[in-house]
């Protein structure tokens, strides 16, 4: 394990292989990362402008739809029985506004006098309401058609818009206000006329930055700032139209966003998930990654193979050298096999073989000399031993003592 972790101790093959992979594949990988990035940027740019176009289409479609409702409100406000009803303060019978509601495909119809008192309404729950404080009433009573802001009811999760027009008698004097309330669903339908890309969605944001129309119930009624999109909310509030990339929408991944203002201060916002339009590039990057991995594996295997072929004779030479060093039997056959190769290693093996042979010859000669010298030495040594023996004090004492014994024996006897 330690050996694997320490590149200094890797075999030649591993070193060559890794170096090859690093030298060839890392630049390739970096290059492909760079290519992917620039591809993503290019696609993102084109998606941003596409999203901007979609936002504009959605905004104008909403505007167009509400303009149509304004037209209907105008029509209602100039209907003779409505004018007569508003003018004569209730002395004439209530006009058939129920039929108007279904004919105009609206949720509610409100007829208010110039003081803002609702004189007739469908459904009846609107009756008796005073609408003097409503912006649309103020505008309409002043003689202008008005599109109210989209009102979101958090209790029922439904939105609606009131569109108002002044009711005018034939002399063009304003006698009251005719207002139509349309369901947010109708506005949402108009908004969704924007052709959306894969996984995209269009939402309508009111001037306070609240999402008032969306298909997705998870987003409905949420403030952009509550979704962590304060920056986006600020941009939308500042500029009538624009785009932003890499906006994280909670639960829906990173999006590109484009917006365009529409009637009543509302803003059509188009979200387009990046993952969807980056999918082809991601697929390409994935394919490249797999290809690079395969190339790396093949290169590593090849390098290992080549390196092994390269290092096999080297290791044979190493073995031979260590055999030489240890003065054990040399595998001459293997060495000669290598020596037959005509490359550098072969030359090395030939040189080594002849060197080994020379070494062996020299050793043989040396051994013979040693043998001869040994014989000489043995002769000398025997001689030396005798000399050594006779030269010792003990021996001389012994000789002296023997002479004395002899003398004593002769003298005393």
């Amino acid at each position: 394990m330690r050996r694997l972790l320490d590149p200094r101790r890797w075999s030649l093959g591993a070193k060559i292989g890794v170096t090859l992979v690093v030298a060839a594949l890392v630049p390739m990988a970096l290059l492909s990362v760079a290519a992917t990035r620039s591809g993503q940027d290019a696609v993102e740019q084109s998606e941003l402008s596409a999203a901007e176009g979609r936002a504009v289409v959605g905004a104008s479609s909403v505007q167009q739809y509400l303009l149509g409702v304004v037209g209907r409100a105008n029509q209602l406000g100039t209907t003779s029985d409505v004018v007569a009803f508003l003018k004569n303060s209730g002395s004439t019978s209530i006009p058939a506004i129920g039929a108007t509601a279904s004919q105009f495909d609206v949720e509610a119809v409100i007829l208010a006098d110039l003081r803002g008192a609702t004189r007739a309404a469908v459904p009846s729950s609107y009756e008796g309401r005073n609408v003097a404080g409503e912006d649309w009433f103020v505008d309409a009573a002043a003689g202008q058609t008005a599109v109210g802001r989209i009102a979101f009811d958090p209790r029922t999760n439904r939105s609606s818009v009131i569109v108002a027009a002044p009711a005018r008698d034939p002399s063009a004097a304003v006698v009251g206000v005719a207002a139509l309330q349309v369901s947010g669903q109708d506005v949402l339908f108009a908004l969704n006329q924007a052709p959306l890309g894969p996984g995209g969605q269009a939402v309508l944001v009111d001037p306070d930055g609240r999402i008032v129309l969306t298909r997705d119930s998870r987003l409905l009624g949420k403030q952009l700032s509550d979704l962590g999109l304060q920056d986006l909310a600020d941009s939308i509030a500042d500029e009538p139209s624009g785009t932003r990339s890499k906006v994280p929408l909670p639960g829906r991944g990173v999006q590109v966003v484009a917006w365009s203002a529409t009637t009543g201060g509302n803003i059509a916002v188009v979200f387009q998930p990046r993952a969807a339009f980056l999918a082809p590039i991601d697929r390409l990057a994935r394919t490249t990654r797999i290809a690079l991995a395969i190339v790396a594996a093949v290169a590593l295997l090849l390098a290992l193979f080549v390196a092994r072929r390269l290092s096999k004779p080297v290791s044979a030479l190493t073995n031979a050298a260590s055999a030489l060093e240890a003065n054990t039997e040399l595998d001459i056959d293997r060495l000669e096999n290598i020596a037959r190769s005509r490359d550098d290693i072969g030359r090395l093996a030939r040189v080594f073989s002849s060197m080994a042979a020379e070494v062996a010859e020299r050793e043989r000669r040396l051994r013979a000399q040693v043998e001869a010298l040994k014989v000489e030495i043995d002769e000398d040594r025997r001689r030396l031993t005798v000399t050594e023996l006779t030269d010792t004090e003990f021996f001389r004492n012994l000789i002296e003592r023997a002479a004395e014994i002899r003398r004593r024996a002769r003298g005393e006897s």
Partner: protein, 388 residues
């Protein structure tokens, strides 16, 4: 020294390769909650806007999300305006949105026929609770599911009710000359004939004519035990009103074409006791605790009374939520889950056969009581079971 440098290089290379291998999918902001959503296809606006079926589905998802605020299921209604061409375009959008794992609806048969080929290509399952054209399940679509009885089932059910429950021997079968009414009336007449009931007279009304005196007169002369009417509301209202005015008090029965509050308001007192068949239940019926809870939750959420197929869509939405809860995480998995589902809903038990039709789609008989249609009997496989 050179060895050390090569080591450093190797490490840098390995790091680069590793980061390369891991990078690129930085858009995934998963926090343990996978994004999943259910779409609804049907008319939310336009001339075909009906008593809002999608409300039932919306309520079911909203209830689930209230209990699971950490990982809500998306509910995405797509407004088809009842237009098959528009529905087909919406289907492309739905297919493109990867978080959508199942579709509720479409509301009507025409749009169902338009969207199913698109869904079929990506194994996206639908569950409709209101598209009743019998041919839809015969197109070979594997992802088609219908949790409601077909038009074909209403005729035999009405015949069973007339002969077994009302014990009639002579029935007048009248239609309004429309395709729906005529087909239904023919089915009823054929089944009554098999049961030995005399069909007299078998008549067709001209829907544009306001005065049906001659038909009503012949009914009085013949002396029938009951009148079956196949058709839509307006001619039916005139027929029933003129019948009652002429003093004919025999039971009156019709199909879901007259399951319409204007039958009661149009005929007045004479509508009392009239029977209708429908593969749908009465959503204002609060006879059981869970139906009571449903009606209360519905009123609290939307601020008005439940109408139409809302309870059916509440059921199928809960069916799909059950699939997601059970771990079905892809479109194909949801489709497979639905194919083998056994689910007891509020309106009926739901189980699909190979063609995607509900295996046992009960037909309900409702009776006009006061200003509403009250559930009176359930007919399943030709057997009449009276509600208590």
């Amino acid at each position: 020294m050179s060895t050390r440098r090569s080591v450093a290089m190797t490490c840098a290379g390995a790091l680069a390769a590793a980061s390369f291998a891991m990078g690129c999918s930085s858009d995934d902001t998963s926090s343990g909650c996978t994004q999943r959503a259910i779409a609804f296809v049907g008319p939310l606006t336009g001339q075909y806007r009906r008593p809002p079926m999608q409300n039932g589905a919306e309520l079911a998802v909203a209830q689930y999300n209230k209990e699971h605020p950490d990982c809500p299921i998306g509910y995405l209604p797509y407004d088809s305006q009842g237009d098959p061409d528009l529905a087909a375009r919406l289907a492309e959008q739905i297919v493109d949105d990867p978080q959508i794992l199942a579709v509720l609806g479409p509301s009507y048969s025409g749009e169902t026929a338009a969207v199913m080929p698109v869904f079929e290509q990506v194994s996206l399952a639908n569950v409709t609770a209101s598209a009743t054209n019998p041919t839809l399940s015969q197109q070979g679509w594997t992802t088609f599911h219908r949790a409601v009885g077909t038009d074909d089932a209403q005729g035999p059910a009405a015949a069973a009710f007339l002969s077994d429950e009302l014990k009639v021997r002579r029935v007048a079968v009248i239609d309004d000359s429309g395709l729906y009414g005529k087909t239904l009336a023919d089915l009823v007449a054929a089944d009554l004939g098999k049961r030995g009931v005399v069909i007299a007279p078998r008549a067709s009304l001209d829907p544009k004519v306001l005065d049906y005196t001659s038909t009503v007169g012949s009914l009085a002369e013949i002396g029938v035990d009951a009148v079956y009417y196949g058709g839509v509301t307006e001619p039916g209202v005139r027929l029933l009103k003129q019948m009652r005015d002429a003093g004919i008090t025999v039971p009156f029965m019709g199909g879901d074409g007259i399951f319409d509050p204007s039958l009661i308001s149009g005929v007045g007192e004479g509508a009392q006791g009239a029977f209708i068949t429908c593969p749908c239940v009465d959503p204002t019926d609060e006879s059981s605790p869970d139906r009571k809870a449903f009606a209360a939750a519905y009123r609290a959420y939307f601020g008005y009374e439940p109408v139409g197929f809302v309870m059916e869509y509440f059921d199928v939405a809960r069916l799909v939520i059950a699939a997601l809860e059970d771990g079905a995480g892809t479109r194909a998995e949801v489709d497979r889950w639905l194919d083998t589902a056994r689910f007891v809903g509020m309106t009926k038990a739901i189980e699909f056969d190979d063609s995607g039709d509900i295996t046992a789609g009960p037909i309900f008989v409702l009776r006009v009581e006061g200003d509403r249609f009250a559930q009176f009997a359930t007919i399943l496989d030709g057997r009449v079971q009276k509600n208590q």
